[in-house]
Every structure is written in structure tokens, then in C-alpha cells.
Amino acid sequence: MFVVAPFLWALSTSFKDFNSVTGGATYIPWVDFEPSLEGWRVLLRSPAQGGVNIVEPYFNSIAVTCSASFISIFLGTLAAYALSRFTFKAGFIKNSDITFFFISQRIMPPIVLSIPFFIMLGKLGLLDSMVGLVMVYVVLLMPIAVWIMVDFFNKVPREIDETALIDGCNPYQAFYKVVLPNSVPGLIVAGMFCMIFGWTDFFFAFILTFTEVQLLPVAIVALNSSITPWWSLSASALVSVAPLIVVAFIVERYLSKGNLSGALK
């Protein structure tokens, strides 16, 4: 009920026109109000024709989220494997401290990071650019990847690595030929979390970009002008949620296969 109702409300709102939204609550199409496709049409029209610009931010969002997630997973997995398999020691700093250092990045409220990030990107000339955004998102997403993957690698038995070594792999081969294929479920979970956090972030996208590179959440909020176009706002909200729903279904399918267990015993 609580999950589906807002979606249904948004769905029905996206088919309403001005009067059916502002004139009190209406529920059933064709009975309570006459459905109109205006809210959806606006999304596809170019601004010059009176539409809203949502297509470009959409692809910007996809590009930024995917590349940031990919880089985070790539670096995060390597870091996590090292943290799970080798012992590091520098004075009082041990493996668990390093892992905590990664996670601690997420403890800070984003607002604390926003000003330093703004200044840093400004100095590097990367404000309002894809590269700058990807860099910031990697900082935000990699801790999630490290955290999930350390936990996952800790559950992959060490004997698997050892057997691979005995079978003639060098440590790198043991990692990508044996341990990594065994960790695909973990990679998928980590990837999904990165995608979700990256996709839904509004704060940094809002602060670090202006006009050149607009991400979807920012673009959606920007629809809100002197008149709030509830219908197109609802339609674009649904469109922005769609990829996450697809991702969630794929992941759920995959996880329920039970691929997580069975290497030992």
C-alpha cells in the first residue's frame, strides 16, 4: 500500500490536465477526469516547441551514474580484496581501520563536503562538467563498494585462493580467474547500491553543476517554475524511477538463484 500508492498517484496525475489537478482530488480516469497525454508529450518536445528539456539530463545521468559506479566497483573491489586477504600494518593502523576510513566518508553529512568539493572542482576547472561529477561520485560511491565487497570476500573461503595458487595461478590470476567469478553476486549487489545512490543524488548534482551539465534530479526539480506542472512533473518522476525498477528486478532474479553459496562443502 505505502509503496505502490504514491506511484499510482503519480501515474494518474501524469494523465491529468490543469483543471483536474487544481480542482480538488480526482481519482478515476474517464469518470472523475478526462485523461490527457499532455504531461507525457511535453517531456519529448524540445524546449523551443514549448516542451521541457529532460532527454539530455537523462542521458547525462546515465553516463555519470554508470561511469562513476563502474570506477567505484573496479577500484573498490581491488581495495576490498586486498583488505580481506592481506594484513596491513602502519603503526596503530590495521585492516579494520582502513576499512572504517572508507566507510567514514559516508558518515559525514554531505553539506560538510559540498564546500570543499566546490572549491576543489573550481580550482581544477571541473565545475559544471561530467568529469568533475564523476570524480565526486566516485568518492561517494567507492566506500559502499569497498564495504560490501570486503564483507563478501571475507565470506569467500581462503582455500579457494590457495587452491588456485597451488593449481598454478599467480596471485593476480587467482583473483580474476577464480575469486572474482565467484563474487559476481557481490559485485551485482555493490553495483546496484552504487547505481541507486548515484542515480538518486540531488545534492551534489545541484551544487556542482549550473547549465552545461544537468542531471535528471536537478532537471526535474527545475520544472517547477511559477506554475507547477504537476502532470509533467509526475511523468518525469516516473521516467526517472523506471531504470531503478528494472535494475531491481534483474538483481532480484539473479540473487534468488542462490548463486551465493556452495564453494566449500
Binding site: I160, E162, T163, A164, L165, I166, D167, G168, N182, N259
Partner: protein, 357 residues
């Protein structure tokens, strides 16, 4: 195939602290090429550490290891060309049975045809030929363990196959057959087999030579018969044989005579050089004879209990406070209450400070 030598090898998992605790105390050993060995000892006595040192998963904190005279102490596991089977089957989940078996060859860049041929061969030996195209996750525990083993056998040139309690997860009937197959494989491929176990029956039936370890120290190396008849320490006597060896507190009374209380025993050992006061007389329950009259080398006992095991009777008796057990033929009528037990002199082992004289 190689002769493996350990020279002054010792290992501690925390070598930096003062007075480090050694998981494996300093030892010198050599394993004959093509031999079939068992390493026997209670849990935590350093068996696995020893195996891991040989396979290269652990670098010993002291000493050197040589394969055929070549120092390989700092060589990587892959370069050592060794096979190791762990207690629990390790399989590569994402691969099929055939891929699992062929993986060691793939890692060493063998051509495809050779891999297929070898994999077929090994699958045949292990009875896995019908499962080759199955995903490895689909198999039962003992089939998985066969795969782990198969990965060791697929390379014929391995220096040795090390097995760390490989049959723990396998049920008794299959265990027996597998053990026999391991023996056959050893004879067929002439590969050195080193088999770690804490089960003495497994060690006794499998190995030509057994190495008994305790607290990181190698206590005795010998054939099953030697371990049984002349255990080098009281620990080996207790650990091997079922029931454990009878151990009785004794005193030295002459050149080859000891006494337990008032009873004197002739032994086959020259005791003239023994100074210690901590003397024990050990005898296997298999060698203890039951008599109804006193005679030479006999001790009076009180019989507590007789257990019929079908093929023999186990007599539990006491002399004073010390228990003595005897295995006797099931046809023998065991007297109730008081009786005499004879310790044949050539079967008596005398221990001074827990070490065989």
C-alpha cells in the same frame, strides 16, 4: 616427483615477539620420492603448518626446503608444482567439472587437446566421466572432493600430492574405496603422497611410513609396525593403538629388570645406563597374556570387566590403582575376580622420562 627435504625448518605465526611460540619446532626430514606417508597427530599439533610450508602457502620463519636438492624456500606455490587437497572440497563454482579438472593445466598454458585428454584420463580413474559437463556446484560433497583430488592428479609431474584430512567429509564406505584408490594412484603414477590425518586407522592402513607429531614436534617416524610395537615415547603409545598402550609406573631393579610394586619383570632392554626415576613400563594390550597361576613376568590383577567385541575380548583389569587392558582370544574363558597377567619380556617397552630406552 621429487625428493623433499626439510632442513632446520621451524615456523612461528608471530616470529617478532620475544619467545615466539612455534607451531612447528625445528625439524629435519626427508621424504622419499614416490613414498606414501601419513602425518598423524592430534588437532593443533602443526600438521597443517608443515603441509603449508611444503606447498609454499606458508614461508617458514627458519630453515630451508629442498626439492631434489634445489632450494625452493622462497619459490612461489605455482613454481613448486605441488598438489594439495584440503579438508573440505574446494571447487570453482563457476566452472564445469571438466573445467575444474583442467584448470591446473590451463594455468600452465597446456594446449587444448592435451588438457582434454588428461581430463578424460583423470575422470576415468576417479569415476567422474559421466559428470564432466555438469556445473561443479551440482555435485555431492564426496564428488566435489574427488574433483579436488583430480586437480592434483591431472598433472603427472607434480612434486608431491599433499592431502590435509581429505576424507573427513566422505562417508565410511566410500572412504575405504577412496583410500584404496589413492594407493593405486600412488603405485600407478609413482607420485609422493603425504596424507595428514588425526585418525590412526586411516594412517595405519594407508601409509608405508607414518610421522607422529605432537605440539609442533615430530615424535617418531616409522612404519605402522614399528609404531605399534616400539612406540618411541609414551605419547605415541597412548595415541596409536586401540586401546592405548598400557603404561605402569615402575622402578629399575637390575640390568634388565624393573619392578612394579613387589613384582619384578624381565625386559628385553639394557637398563644399566638409565639414571632417571621417572620410569614407566609399557605393553600393548595385544601382547598381554592372561593366566590363572603365577609364573615368570606375571602380575596379579583384579578383573573389572570383559567386553566382547566379536572377534576378541577386551579384559579391563587393575593392579592396585593402575588399570591394565588385555586383548584375548574370544575362545578363552576369562576368570572372574583375581587372575594373573603375563608381560612377555620381548614385548615390554621401558620409558625413562616418557622416552623409550
Amino acid at each position: 616427483m621429487a625428493k623433499i627435504e626439510l632442513k632446520n625448518v621451524a615456523h612461528s605465526y608471530s616470529p617478532d615477539v620475544e619467545n615466539p611460540e612455534y607451531a612447528l619446532k625445528k625439524c629435519n626430514l626427508s621424504w622419499k620420492d614416490g613414498g606414501r606417508y601419513a602425518v598423524l597427530g592430534p588437532s593443533g599439533c602443526g600438521k597443517t603448518t608443515m603441509l603449508n610450508i611444503m606447498s609454499g602457502l606458508v614461508t617458514p620463519s627458519e630453515g630451508t626446503i629442498k626439492f631434489d636438492g634445489v632450494d625452493i624456500t622462497n619459490m612461489s606455490t605455482a613454481e613448486r608444482n605441488i598438489a594439495q587437497v584440503f579438508q573440505f572440497p574446494v571447487i570453482y563454482n563457476t566452472m564445469t567439472v571438466a573445467q575444474n579438472l583442467g584448470f591446473p593445466l590451463l594455468c600452465r598454458n597446456y594446449p587444448k587437446e592435451v588438457i582434454t585428454k588428461k581430463v578424460d584420463q583423470v575422470a576415468q580413474t576417479l569415476g567422474l566421466e559421466n559428470l564432466l559437463n555438469l556445473r561443479a556446484t551440482k555435485l555431492t560433497a564426496d564428488q566435489k572432493q574427488l574433483i579436488s583430488l583430480g586437480r592434483g592428479l591431472v598433472r603427472e609431474d607434480v612434486a608431491a600430492i599433499l592431502m590435509d584430512e581429505p576424507l573427513t567429509v566422505i562417508d565410511p564406505d566410500l572412504k575405504f574405496r577412496l583410500r584404496r584408490r589413492l594407493k593405486e594412484i600412488n603405485e600407478l603414477y609413482k607420485s609422493t603422497l603425504i596424507y595428514v590425518t588425526h585418525d590412526q586407522n586411516e594412517a595405519m592402513t594407508f601409509a608405508e611410513n607414518i610421522l607422529v607429531m605432537d605440539h609442533g614436534k615430530i615424535v617418531q617416524v616409522g612404519t605402522p609396525l614399528e609404531l605399534f610395537e616400539r612406540p618411541k615415547t609414551t605419547f605415541v603409545g597412548y595415541f596409536i593403538g586401540s586401546p592405548a598402550m598400557n603404561m605402569l609406573k615402575a622402578e629399575i631393579k637390575g640390568k634388565n629388570v624393573v619392578s612394579i610394586g613387589d613384582t619384578s619383570f624381565k625386559t628385553g632392554t639394557d637398563l644399566s645406563k638409565v639414571k632417571s626415576k621417572n620410569i614407566k613400563l609399557g605393553i600393548r594390550s595385544e601382547f598381554v597374556e592372561l593366566h590363572d597361576k603365577n609364573a615368570d613376568n606375571c602380575i596379579s590383577v583384579k578383573i573389572d570387566k570383559v567386553d566382547d567385541f566379536g572377534n576378541f575380548q577386551l579384559v579391563s583389569a587393575r593392579h592396585g590403582m593402575s588399570p591394565i587392558k588385555a586383548k584375548v582370544s574370544r575362545d578363552l574363558a576369562v576368570p572372574a575376580g583375581d587372575a594373573w597377567m603375563k608381560f612377555p619380556d620381548n614385548r615390554c617397552c621401558v620409558y625413562s622420562n616418557e622416552v623409550l630406552v
